[in-house]
Structure formats: structure tokens, C-alpha cells
């Protein structure tokens, strides 16, 4: 199985410096299943990076490490701050994690309450909270939905609100787990436009290779708990051997 060598440090034109550094991260689930076997990854400010790989590659597991929900062996640094138990709350305000299923993310009855959860939990004064909610909803173009019940929204709308719930925390990095799953073509298109517009560093896991091609200059391929390729998207998508070896397909 020929595997492109991971490129550990890539500087893209728009990069300004390191936002996220992961060094040699290992993790096993309590039942003994080894999910991560030495992950190293750098994200620079402004990067938009796709994370692809077959089911069970460990993508979600890696993402759950980035704001300390899971705790593996290895080093994670955010804007120079090393992740540890003591600074978890601060780290969590810097990493905005959006889960695949927006229903998991939206647990409050109204959109406003949901978007306000993060800022409220951070102990901000009320005026700040309101300001943040307003601007987060504006960023995802859902200002009109402030008082709606989350429960009754369409999947595409829920997805946008889910992104707003982390934007309201002013994160340095946005980490999205399979954002386009289950969307119809129109909602998917509108999500792509939204992600393109957001001026924020992001790491996005997906099975949607066309999304990768359209949106992300850089792609990281994972399989079996390891990074097996990391480079320019156009190079990776040309490497048919690599793709089929890891259960992927050319768009």
C-alpha cells in the first residue's frame, strides 16, 4: 500500500502562525480499542483543512481531543497554550466543536437560549451575551430565527444554528464533524457558502469529497488512527492509489 508521506509543516500563503499544534497523540478507548496511534498535526491561522478517511478512522476521536473531552497521551497546544486539566475551560472557549448531528448540539427550547449557553457559561455580563448572540446569528444569517423553537427547524437551519452556538464563544478554531451529512443539495450549497465566508480557521471532517474539492485547499487523510497523507487537496485527489487504499473515492 503506497502511502504519501505526511507533510508535517505546510505554510500556506494566508497563514499567519500556528493556531493548533498536535504532537504524537495516542488514545485508546476504555474497552481497549486503539483509536489514535500517534497523530501530529499543525493548523495555521486562516487554514481551512479537510479531514477525510473511512468510517472508524478516528476522525471524531481526534476532534474530541481538541477541546479536551477525551484525554489521550501526547501534546496539544492552542495559540501556544498547552492543553491541561487546569485550563480546560479556557481551551474550550478557543475551540468551537460542532457535532455531526445538530440535534445533539441544540438542547435548549429556543434558538436564543442555545446560542447564549456558551457565553452565559463563560460568566459574561448580560449585555455582552446578547451582543454575542446577535452577531453569531448574523454570521450564519439566521437573525430572524432568534425566538424560534429549535425543535421545529429544518436540518439545514439546525446546522446553521449549531454553528452559531459555537461562534458565539468567539473561538480561534472551528472544528466541524461531518457538517454536510443529511442535507439536501440546496441546504448543502448554502452551508458551503457559509463556510467559505466565515473568516476563521477550521478543521472539517467529511465523507463528501466534492465538498473537499470545492472548499478546502488542504486535506488530511486518516486511516486506522494514523495520518496517512497531508497535503494540497488537488494533489491528494489525483492520487487514486491513495484514495482507494483508504476507502475513498474521487469526486
Amino acid at each position: 500500500m503506497p502511502i504519501t508521506h505526511p507533510i508535517h509543516k505546510m505554510v500556506f500563503p494566508e497563514s499567519e502562525g500556528d493556531v493548533l499544534k498536535v504532537r504524537d497523540l495516542h488514545f485508546s478507548y476504555p474497552d481497549g480499542h486503539v483509536a489514535l496511534r500517534g497523530i501530529s498535526l499543525n493548523l495555521c491561522s486562516g487554514d481551512k483543512v479537510a479531514l477525510v478517511g473511512p468510517n472508524g478512522a478516528g476522525k471524531s476521536t481526534l476532534m474530541l481531543h481538541l477541546n479536551g473531552i477525551l484525554e489521550g497521551r501526547g501534546e496539544i497546544e492552542l495559540r501556544g497554550l498547552r492543553l491541561s486539566r487546569n485550563n480546560l475551560p479556557v481551551i474550550r472557549s478557543m475551540v468551537g466543536l460542532v457535532f455531526q448531528n445538530p440535534d445533539d448540539q441544540l438542547f435548549s427550547p429556543t434558538v436564543f437560549e442555545d446560542v447564549a449557553f456558551g457565553p452565559l457559561h463563560m460568566g459574561l455580563p448580560e449585555a455582552d451575551v446578547r451582543a454575542r448572540v446577535t452577531s453569531a446569528l448574523e454570521a450564519v444569517r439566521m437573525s430572524a430565527f432568534k425566538d424560534r423553537l429549535s425543535h421545529h427547524l429544518s436540518v439545514g437551519e439546525k446546522k446553521r444554528i449549531a454553528i452559531a452556538t459555537v461562534l458565539s464563544m468567539n473561538p480561534s478554531v472551528l472544528v466541524l464533524d461531518e457538517p454536510s451529512a443529511g442535507l439536501d443539495p440546496r441546504a448543502r450549497r448554502s452551508l458551503i457558502n457559509l463556510l467559505r465566508e466565515l473568516p476563521i480557521t477550521m478543521l472539517v471532517s467529511t465523507h463528501d469529497m466534492r465538498l473537499v474539492q470545492e472548499l478546502f485547499p488542504r486535506t488530511v487523510v486518516m486511516d486506522d488512527g494514523q495520518i496517512v497523507a497531508d497535503g494540497l487537496t488537488r494533489d491528494i485527489l489525483e492520487d487514486e492509489e491513495l484514495l482507494t487504499a483508504h476507502g475513498l473515492e474521487k469526486p
Binding site: 474497552d31 475551560p89 479556557v90 474550550r92 472557549s93 440535534d103 445533539d104 449557553f117 452565559l120 460568566g123
Partner: protein
């Protein structure tokens, strides 16, 4: 999905695994009942019961230590029985004062306490062994055969099936909450107790709605396959001579334990 931790069943191909689930259930209950009937301080009988457990363990292919290790999880409950020490009349051993009450530890109380802990430890190990060698669906079938009303066993079957789906859902909800439980640098975070309780309540309400709607979809799926208010299943269990032999041996052993305990 990943909530394998919920499945206590261990896949092996031992004599005990192959035994008819009805026999296993009845013997386990008889054993637990027999423990409850033993008098305090019947050390010989306790020893016999332990021997029974060890024999069953040996038949199960799980390794002798399995139930023993698992049973420690249940042991903290024994502390609840501490009140027994003071409540049974007998010869005082020691005395102390706490708040507005006087407590006297008696010899009979101590005897009762030790007996209760041993008996309940034995019982817990048997229960652990039972679910470790019987798949839960088979256990449900066994209860069906033992005339537990069908509606209850059906609810339990559904509970078992959706336990995994819903606990996964809860895990994801909890993670989502956790990942947004942030603090600004140098700020105290968390909100008040009432607010936190409200968030937990909202999550429960959310989960409730989703479960309710899921049950609608399941109902549709059942209708689509001909459901008409009755749940039918094929029951693959048959009692063989071997099963009866094991049952007989177990009951004789348990009777012997009772005999030793009382005379």
C-alpha cells in the same frame, strides 16, 4: 453502538452458556432465595453456597475470578446494612453517642451484619454470573416462558434495544454541553445551580421529544411489517434431558445447603 459496557454477556461456548435460559433463571433465583432463608451465622451453609458458586463459575468458562472481581462494584451497598449493627438486641459490645441518639453495637447485631453482607455478596455474584452466561434476549425469552406478562417482557425487550441508541444520544448531548462549558480567561464560570438544573431539564425534555418521535417511527416500521397489536417471536429454546439433569443437580445441592444451614 459503542456502549458495549452495557452488555454484561461474555461470549464463550461452555456448558453453562448452552444451558436452557429458563433453567438458569430458575436456579439463580432459587439460589438467591435459599441464601435469604439461611439463618444468621450458618457458616457451613455459606461455605457450601460459595462452593456452588465456584462450581458454576468453573462450568462457565469465564475464569474463577470473574464474578468475584465484578462483585466488588456492588459491595459499597453493604454499607447500607450498617444500621443492623445497632438495631438487633443482644449483648452490647461497644457504645457511642451521635447527635441525639445512643448507638450500641451488639453481638447479635454484628453477627447479623456479617451474615447479611456475606449472603448479599453471594447473591450478587450469582446474578452477575447469570447475565454473563445468558444473552439478554434469551433472558427475556426465559421470563416469557415463566409467565411474566408479555407486555412487560416486550417493554423490557424494547428498553434493551433502545438503551444503546438512546444512551449514545445522551453521551453526545453531554459531550456537546461539555464542549461549550467554557470560561473566559480568568473568569469564574458555570452559572447558578438553578440555571444548570434547567439546562439538564432541557436536555431531558429534548431527549423525551426525540424518544417520543422515534417511537412513532418505530410504530410505523412495525405496521409496515404487519404488526397488529400482537408481537410474535419464534422461540428457539427447548428443554433437553441434559438441562433437566443440571436443574436436578442444582436443586439437590441447594436443598443440601438448606439442610446444613438449619441442622
Amino acid at each position: 453502538m459503542h456502549s458495549d459496557a452495557f452488555d454484561r454477556y461474555h461470549h464463550h461456548d461452555s456448558a453453562l452458556h448452552r444451558l436452557d435460559p429458563r433453567i438458569k433463571v430458575v436456579v439463580a433465583i432459587a439460589f438467591i432465595l435459599s441464601n435469604a432463608l439461611l439463618p444468621d451465622g450458618a457458616w457451613m451453609a455459606f461455605g457450601l453456597a460459595w462452593l456452588f458458586l465456584i462450581l458454576a463459575n468453573a462450568l462457565s468458562d469465564l475464569g474463577l475470578g470473574y464474578t468475584f472481581r465484578r462483585s466488588f462494584i456492588a459491595l459499597p451497598f453493604a454499607l447500607v446494612a450498617i444500621t443492623v449493627l445497632f438495631s438487633v438486641p443482644g449483648k452490647p459490645l461497644s457504645q457511642f453517642h451521635f447527635m441525639m441518639w445512643d448507638f450500641t453495637v451488639t453481638d447479635a447485631g454484628l453477627l447479623r451484619f456479617i451474615s447479611i453482607v456475606i449472603r448479599s455478596w453471594l447473591s450478587v455474584q450469582m446474578a452477575i454470573l447469570l447475565v454473563a452466561v445468558t444473552r439478554f434476549p434469551d433472558l427475556i425469552h426465559a421470563f416469557e416462558h415463566l409467565r411474566v406478562p408479555a407486555i412487560l417482557t416486550t417493554i423490557i425487550a424494547f428498553l434493551y434495544r433502545y438503551l444503546f441508541v438512546l444512551t449514545d444520544e445522551v453521551m453526545r448531548l453531554l459531550r456537546a454541553r461539555q464542549s461549550r462549558s467554557a470560561a473566559a480567561a480568568g473568569q469564574r464560570s458555570g452559572g447558578g445551580v438553578l440555571w444548570r438544573a434547567r439546562v439538564a431539564g432541557n436536555m431531558s425534555g429534548q431527549l423525551f421529544l426525540r424518544s417520543y418521535e422515534r417511537s412513532d417511527r418505530i410504530y410505523n416500521a412495525m405496521l409496515a411489517r404487519g404488526y397488529d397489536g400482537q408481537l410474535l417471536t419464534l422461540n428457539p429454546h427447548e428443554l433437553h434431558a441434559r438441562d433437566w439433569a443440571y436443574a436436578l443437580a442444582a436443586f439437590l445441592f441447594i436443598l443440601a445447603t438448606q439442610f446444613v444451614g438449619w441442622f
